[in-house]
Each structure stands twice: as structure tokens, then as C-alpha cells.
């Protein structure tokens, strides 16, 4: 059942590195992470790779497989042709630490910049009432497993290191959208701060983030575009913005 596969694994650190060829067994039903683990256990004991759940739920084993941002635990070996060479490299948009492990601390810094949820002070424990249909809009974004593949794929930072300072990236646009659509959140103007402080305007809607999302969150269509539209509304029609805000609060 086992077949031999050729893997090209990037090995190195922040100073230098190169692709190394290894031949390794792959069994029926295995994913790329299984094969990397086999390399680790039999040929390269110190090969660095992050992983946790191995079921696509934690978002740890993010890497680039044949140049595409993927979760190694959800990429089946059977998706490659017989004899096809498989190249695994660390996430390109972030500095490498070692081998397949990248320094993703950028994302945790950005998380600190997004204002937190604000609960209505008058609503005590168990008093909140929300419709399922209303919570579902934010729930879509709360499915995010923080694999940061969208951040890695996004051209605004992938190819332009200098943009990182002023651009939070798709992961945090859906965080802002989630709070903006949260039926109870009290903080106003979230979409405007997304535009003015977190670089929403730099996104040119190429949908690369949506394509790589392992949770199939419709990042562009359901979070970024609606926020962009509302920013435009606000910019050109303050009365309309005020009206929509008041109606929304009364209804909640």
C-alpha cells in the first residue's frame, strides 16, 4: 500500500536555507503532515514544523505546499499525481524561524489593535435575547481558526513588507466585521476605523484570502465588501449613516 514520494522540504533559518530532497513512504489516506512526521521520525529528527489537532480545527500547520498556502493536515497525498514532486516551504509573508515554522507574531500584534467587544451595561447575565439569524452573520467569522493563511495569501502584505504597519489583513477585517455585525456590541464606527486605522481601503478585492480559507469563510463577499460599501455610504451621506445606526440599535 505504501508508495514512495519525493518531498522537497525547505530547511534553514532566518540567515540561510535551501530545499532538501527526501524520499519517504506515503500510505493510503495520508495527508502531507503525516509524511512530514515520518520524515521527522526517521530521517530528520530536528525538522521544525508546527501542528496540533491534525483535524483542521486549530490552524497550526499552515505552510506553503507547491507554493500555495495550505494546512498540511488537510492536504491529502492522493491529491498529487503519481511521481509528482511536492515542495513544502514556510509561510512566505512572515519571517522564518526555522524550517517550516514562521514567526506569525505580526498577527498577535494586530489582534491587540482591534478594539474589544463592548457589552450593553444594562444587560445582566442571561438577559440577552438574540435571533439565530442575527447571530449567524457574526458566527461565520467566528469560525476562523487563525491559521493566518489569508494573511499569507494577501498581496497587500505578501509582496509589500512596508504595508504591514498600516494594514491589519483579512483575518482582522473579519474580526472587525464580526463585532460590527454582533447584535449586542456597543462600540460604534467599527467600519470607519477599519478604513482609517486598519487599512481596509488598501484591499483591492482580489479574493485570494477567500480562496485559501480552510473554513470557507466568505471573507471578501461577506465581510470586506459590506464594510467597504458602508464606509462609502458614511463618507457621502452622514444622515443615512446616523439613521441606519439608530434604527439598528432600537431593533436590537
Amino acid at each position: 500500500m505504501a508508495r514512495k514520494v519525493n518531498l522537497r522540504i525547505w530547511r534553514g533559518d532566518s540567515t540561510s536555507g535551501s530545499l532538501q530532497n527526501v524520499e519517504v513512504d506515503a500510505n493510503e489516506g495520508e495527508v502531507v503532515l503525516d509524511v512530514i512526521h515520518r520524515v521527522q521520525a526517521t530521517q530528520m529528527g530536528d525538522l521544525a514544523v508546527r501542528w496540533n489537532c491534525k483535524a483542521g480545527k486549530c490552524g497550526s500547520c499552515s505552510m506553503e505546499i507547491n507554493g500555495k498556502p495550505r494546512l498540511a493536515c488537510m492536504t491529502r497525498m492522493s491529491s498529487f499525481e503519481e511521481g509528482e514532486e511536492i515542495t513544502v516551504t514556510p509561510l512566505r509573508a512572515f519571517p522564518v524561524i526555522k524550517d517550516l515554522v514562521a514567526d506569525v507574531s505580526f498577527n498577535y500584534k494586530k489582534a491587540l489593535e482591534i478594539p474589544a467587544y463592548e457589552h450593553p451595561p444594562e444587560l445582566g447575565p442571561g438577559e440577552a435575547r438574540m435571533e439565530q439569524i442575527d447571530v449567524e452573520r457574526s458566527q461565520e467569522f467566528r469560525k476562523c481558526i487563525e491559521c493566518f493563511l489569508c494573511q499569507d495569501a494577501c498581496h497587500v502584505i505578501r509582496d509589500h513588507e512596508e504595508n504591514k504597519k498600516s494594514f491589519a489583513g483579512p483575518r482582522f477585517f473579519i474580526r472587525i466585521a464580526e463585532l460590527d455585525m454582533h447584535p449586542l456590541d456597543m462600540l460604534k464606527n467599527r467600519q470607519r476605523t477599519a478604513q482609517e486605522e486598519h487599512g481596509l481601503g488598501m484591499c483591492n478585492i482580489t479574493k485570494c484570502c477567500t480562496e485559501v480559507c480552510p473554513e470557507h469563510i466568505r471573507i471578501t463577499d461577506n465581510a470586506i465588501i459590506p464594510m467597504k460599501e458602508r464606509v462609502v455610504d458614511v463618507k457621502y451621506d452622514p444622515a443615512r449613516w446616523l439613521g441606519s445606526k439608530i434604527r439598528r440599535r432600537e431593533g436590537s
Binding site: 503525516d34 483535524a55 526555522k98
Partner: protein
């Protein structure tokens, strides 16, 4: 070697899963400076894998529910080996803990009236699990992660430094808990990224490291479940209670081999999924134990009616507590009625419309479709038991979560013992970690305010540093990966779901042998993000835990919950009064017996006396509670 990094905190929380984060929030809100240590990145803890929900008797779906019913279900599920006080606190406080999360921004699924919805689960009399589809654990982690970010934002505004009072140390392993003059003084460890060493000085340490699944071959646990906290506590002089009790979740994936063990949520059965063997028989009706006969339907018609009318029908036997279902599947497979991959069938496709399946069980659909090429809206899943949860753990004072015998040490969540007795009900772990995470934070805060911190001595630092260096100075020694595989084979074959005395004896000898060889583990490469180096320490922890489990298991000569002895089938009233206490004498794990705390009268009286007669001795029944 680089210079030692030193930090001083009031409270050090080891583990950033649900219990650790909840404890950290509580200690910080009590005004203390808190460090949170995680082995992985922040937000990746195993809690994210919890699918079904958090049990809390809010009574939103069935108004008949209350803490007393939840308490009864928990004790029953644990076969009355639970510490009554933990089960009581848990049942009373979990609704508040759920509401609190909602006030921190969590978005649970709703009822028609707009309240938090609750779903059915094995062993729970009423629909009780607050949930978010089948990714409830992720919602808990994310909510608490974001709560911590909120606290950091507040500190950034007040002190100009987000990490002034609460800091997350991600990808750091703790190798030692340090005591001075009999009290907790801190902990020692290393950054996984660079291998450089770190000393934390803190008068209180909260262990919240989760489980031990990686000691077993087939497990739903991630690489992190290596029993670190169990082992750290043992070495620090704390006790472990009832380590023989391991929960084998009845439904793990069995095919393909690379996903073997990955969890299939109990919600599949809660939503109407049925178990069948290869003969097409819905076999669970054959496995309803005597003690549960009045609660579970003995025919398909009644079982199916229950989904529509729960007041007038008994529950389907697929929803028996997990230990019962796991044993039943094991028996079916052994009798030759299992699939070619050693599982049985779990099917929702015949009973629930495709669009409802995708809505209620989205990540299950996803998991099977992407990893096994199975569309669960059209075909049955293949499932079998997988090592999922350890009921045993650090012996604690229920009200404060303080580890017995070690001033300044606390434990909460899966790493703590007592709460679940011999078997945990699904949904009770997420509520457990909220209730006792908070209590550990409170307990540690009160302790810190009452003592003066003691400094860590140079001798302790030197000893801890030497231990970290050892795998590099050993040369040509054992390979940590191979020893880990050997251990997993032993636990799987000899300390697994069905056990016997001679096999356990064999297991103990083999574990002791591997532990001797593990002293000579040597590691290739350097300290920089080196998994082989990391595994050397994890292995040491797993070996100690496995020894504790095997020694507790050989001592308990009965079958109860997550401990089944082929040579001692059935429960024994006498054994219900016994806890097994593991301690470490510096060279091996020693197991002794200790009397289980007796249930006080007011809790005793919550039960039907005839039910208690199934579990307790006539003397206990006559006494009618402890006061």
C-alpha cells in the same frame, strides 16, 4: 549558553486552554500580575477540539432542568466515584459561567425565544449543552483569548504597556515546578523557538495543562496531551487521584489510518445518529446496563419517539454514558460484527435531511468529506473507540482548586481529578474548565495575598538547567520517537479499554524499563525549534503518567466507568468507597488507597434511595449521608 531570562509574577498559569485562560482572567481581575504559559501558539489549545457543547442547567429548552438534576446526572455518569463537592459546585455554577462568556462577546446558538439554545447529550436528562454548531470549544477559547486581549488593551491605556499585568508566553515548555521551603516559588522552562531557558518566580502556580491522550496509540488528543501537568504536579509533591480512569470516546474515526482516533462528536448521536453493526443491527439495545434500564428505551419505536417527545419516552441507548457505548462497540467488533477497518457504522444520512446535517454538524461533514472522502449526508461513518479524556488527575480542594499537600499549587480542568468520578459526561468538561478555572484563579489570588513570596535558590536553578542540557550531553543513546512508539503500543495493548491483571503487570514492568532507557535519550541537532528535543521532555512526563495509570489499574479489582477489568467484571460497592492516590517518591510512582469523601445528607437526599442502593453498601444506605 545565553543568559537566563528571569520574570517575576504573582500567579503563573501553565496551560492556555479553557481552564488556564479562565483562571488567568480571574487572577488578573483580582488585581494580580499574571503570566500564561502555552506550549503552542496562543489560541491553539486542545479546547478548540471540543465540539458538542458546555453543560449548564439553564433550563432554556426544558424548564424542568436545574442544578440538582445536573448534579444527579454527573454523579450517575461517574458511577458515584466523583468528589461530591466538585460535582455540586460544577452543577450550581456552570450557568453563570456560560452567561459570563456571553457578556464577553460569545455568540451561542439561540432558541426561538432568543435565549441560548441547549442540546441533548449522553447521560444528561434534559437538553443541557450550550453550543455553537459543533465548534463550541473554539468559541470558548476565542472568547477568553479576546477577553485577555481586552484586559491587555486596558493596561496599554493605563500603563502604556499591554503586557504590564498579563502576558502570554507562547511556545514555551515548563520542565520543572520549583519549591523552596516546602512552598511554591516558581517554575523553570525553555522557549521552544530558541531553546533558551527561562525562570519564573511566582508564589502561586496554576496547572491547567489538560490531558494525557498521547500516552496512547489511538487518541483524539493533539501532540500537546502529554500529561505535563500531571507529571509536574507529581514531582512537586502533589497527588494524583484515580488515574486508572480513562475515557475512551466511543466514536473516533477509524479510516483512513492517518485520521484514526480523530473525534466524531457525540452531537451526531444527540441529533439522531444511530449505531449499527455489519449485520445491520442497531445493537445498542443489547447493552443497556441494569442501573440504567428505567432511563433508556429498549426498542426502536420508543427510542425514535424520544426525539419528538422527551417527556413520555425513554432515551435512545445510543445516548448512554460514553463508557457504556465504547464497551459495546468494542464487544461488537471483537464478535466479528465490525467493519473491515475495525469499527461500526454511525449513520445520520438515513434519518436527517442533508441540509440539516450540514447546518447542525458542519465540521463533521467537513472532516469526513475532506479527510476520508465520505459524505455523511449520503453514507454512514465508520467509528470506533479512541482515548479521549483522563478522569484522574491532581487531587485538589474542591472550593479553591488548591493541590492537596503543596502550598501555592493549584490545578483546574482536565488535569485536576475528582470531578468526573469514573466517567465524564460529554459537555461536562467545557463547563468544568470554566467553573474550576475561575475557582483556581480565585484560590490562587487569595493565597498570594496572604503570603510573602520566596525567592528561587541558585541550587534549584542549576538543577533545572542541568536537566534541560542532558539530552544533548547523552551521546548515541535512545531515540525519543521510538521510545514514544513503544510506550503507545504498551498502553494500547495492555492498559487499554479492556484490562486484565497479568497484562497490567506486564505493562508496569515494560513502562519501568522504558523509563530507565529514557534517561539515556539523546537528541540530534541544536536547541532551535527542535521537536526531538521537545519530545524528550514530553516522553518523561508520559512515562510517569502511564506508570500511575497502570499501577492504579492493577490495584482496582472491579470494573467501573473508564476502567474495565476482564478478570473482575462488574462494579463492587466496596470499591466505590476507594480513591487511588498516586504519589512520586523520587524514583517511582506509589499508589495507595484513600477513603472517598462521603456524600452529605442534603445531597444524598436528592437521589431516589433505590437508585443509591445500586451503588452503595447497605451500611451507607442506612447511614443516609455523612451528617
Amino acid at each position: 549558553m545565553t543568559e537566563l531570562e528571569r520574570y517575576t509574577y504573582d500567579v503563573l498559569v501553565i496551560g492556555a486552554g479553557g481552564a488556564g485562560l479562565r483562571a488567568a482572567v480571574e487572577a488578573r481581575e483580582a488585581g494580580l500580575r499574571v503570566a500564561i504559559i502555552c506550549k503552542s501558539l496562543f489560541g491553539k489549545a486542545h479546547t478548540v477540539m471540543a465540539e458538542g457543547g458546555a453543560a449548564a442547567s439553564m433550563g432554556n429548552v426544558n424548564g424542568g432542568d436545574n442544578w440538582q438534576v445536573h448534579f444527579r446526572d454527573t454523579m450517575r455518569g461517574g458511577k458515584f466515584l466523583n468528589h461530591y463537592r466538585m460535582a455540586e459546585l460544577h452543577a450550581k455554577e456552570s450557568p453563570d459561567r456560560i452567561y459570563e462568556l456571553e457578556m464577553w462577546g460569545a455568540l451561542f446558538d439561540r432558541t426561538k425565544e432568543g435565549k441560548i439554545s441547549q442540546r441533548n447529550f449522553g447521560g444528561h436528562e434534559y437538553p443541557r449543552l450550550a453550543h455553537v454548531g459543533d465548534r463550541t470549544g473554539l468559541e470558548l477559547i476565542r472568547t477568553m483569548q479576546q477577553k485577555i486581549v481586552q484586559l491587555q488593551q486596558k493596561d496599554a491605556r493605563e500603563y502604556g504597556d499591554a503586557q504590564a499585568n498579563i502576558r502570554v508566553f507562547a511556545e514555551l515548555t515548563i520542565t520543572e515546578i520549583i519549591k523552596e521551603s516546602g512552598k511554591i516559588a516558581g517554575a523553570y522552562g525553555y522557549w521552544r523557538e530558541g531553546g533558551n531557558e527561562v525562570l519564573f518566580e511566582a508564589p502561586a502556580v496554576i496547572i491547567a495543562t489538560g490531558g494525557v491522550g498521547k500516552t496512547f496509540k489511538i487518541t483524539s488528543n493533539s501532540w500537546e496531551g502529554t500529561g505535563d501537568g500531571h507529571a509536574l504536579a507529581l514531582k512537586a509533591g502533589a497527588n494524583l487521584v484515580d488515574m486508572e480512569f480513562l475515557q475512551f470516546h466511543p466514536t473516533g474515526m477509524v479510516w483512513p489510518p492517518s485520521v484514526r482516533g480523530i473525534l466524531v462528536t457525540e452531537s451526531v448521536r444527540g441529533e439522531g445518529g444511530v449505531l449499527t453493526n455489519t449485520a445491520g443491527e442497531r445493537f445498542m439495545f443489547k447493552y443497556i446496563p441494569e442501573v440504567f434500564k428505567d432511563k433508556y428505551a429498549d426498542n426502536e419505536e420508543e427510542a425514535d419517539r424520544w426525539y419528538l417527545d422527551q417527556d413520555n419516552n425513554r432515551r435512545p441507548p445510543e445516548l448512554l454514558p460514553r463508557d457504556e457505548v465504547a464497551r459495546a462497540i468494542n464487544t461488537e467488533v471483537k464478535a466479528g460484527r465490525g467493519t473491515e477497518h475495525g469499527g461500526v457504522f454511525l449513520d445520520v444520512s438515513q434519518r436527517i435531511p442533508a441540509e440539516i446535517i450540514k447546518k447542525r454538524l458542519p465540521s463533521m461533514w467537513h472532516q469526513f468529506y475532506e479527510l476520508a472522502g465520505v459524505d455523511i449526508t449520503k453514507e454512514a461513518m465508520e467509528v470506533g473507540p479512541t482515548c479521549h479524556y483522563v478522569m484522574g488527575g491532581v487531587e485538589v480542594e474542591p472550593d479553591t482548586a488548591a493541590a492537596v499537600g503543596v502550598p501555592g499549587l493549584y490545578a483546574a480542568g482536565e488535569v485536576a481529578g475528582g470531578m468526573h468520578g469514573s466517567n465524564r459526561l460529554g459537555g461536562n468538561s467545557l463547563s468544568d474548565l470554566l467553573v474550576f478555572g475561575r475557582r483556581a484563579g480565585m484560590g490562587a489570588a487569595a493565597y498570594v495575598k496572604s503570603v510573602t513570596a520566596v525567592a528561587v535558590s541558585d541550587a534549584s536553578v542549576k538543577a533545572a538547567a542541568e536537566r534541560i542540557q542532558t539530552p544533548f550531553t547523552n551521546s548515541g543513546g535512545e531515540n525519543a520517537y521510538s521510545l514514544h512508539q513503544e510506550l503507545q503500543e504498551i498502553t494500547h495493548n495492555l492498559v487499554g479499554i479492556i484490562r486484565t491483571g497479568p497484562e497490567l503487570k506486564d505493562a508496569i514492568a515494560k513502562i519501568v524499563d522504558i523509563r530507565a532507557r529514557s534517561k539515556n535519550v539523546s537528541v540530534a541537532g541544536d536547541r532551535k525549534f527542535n521537536p526531538g528535543f521537545h519530545l524528550a521532555f514530553d516522553l518523561d512526563n508520559m512515562l510517569l503518567v502511564a506508570e500511575s495509570t497502570a499501577k492504579s489499574a492493577i490495584a482496582r479489582e472491579e470494573s467501573r466507568g473508564g476502567h474495565t477489568r476482564d478478570d473482575f467484571p462488574g462494579m463492587n460497592d466496596k470499591w466505590r468507597q476507594v480513591n487511588h492516590i498516586s504519589s512520586y517518591n523520587g524514583s517511582e510512582v506509589v499508589v495507595r488507597q484513600q477513603a472517598l469523601p462521603a456524600i452529605p445528607k442534603e445531597l444524598f437526599d436528592l437521589f431516589d434511595i433505590h437508585e443509591l442502593e445500586k451503588y452503595m453498601t447497605p451500611e451507607e444506605i442506612t447511614k443516609g449521608g455523612s451528617n
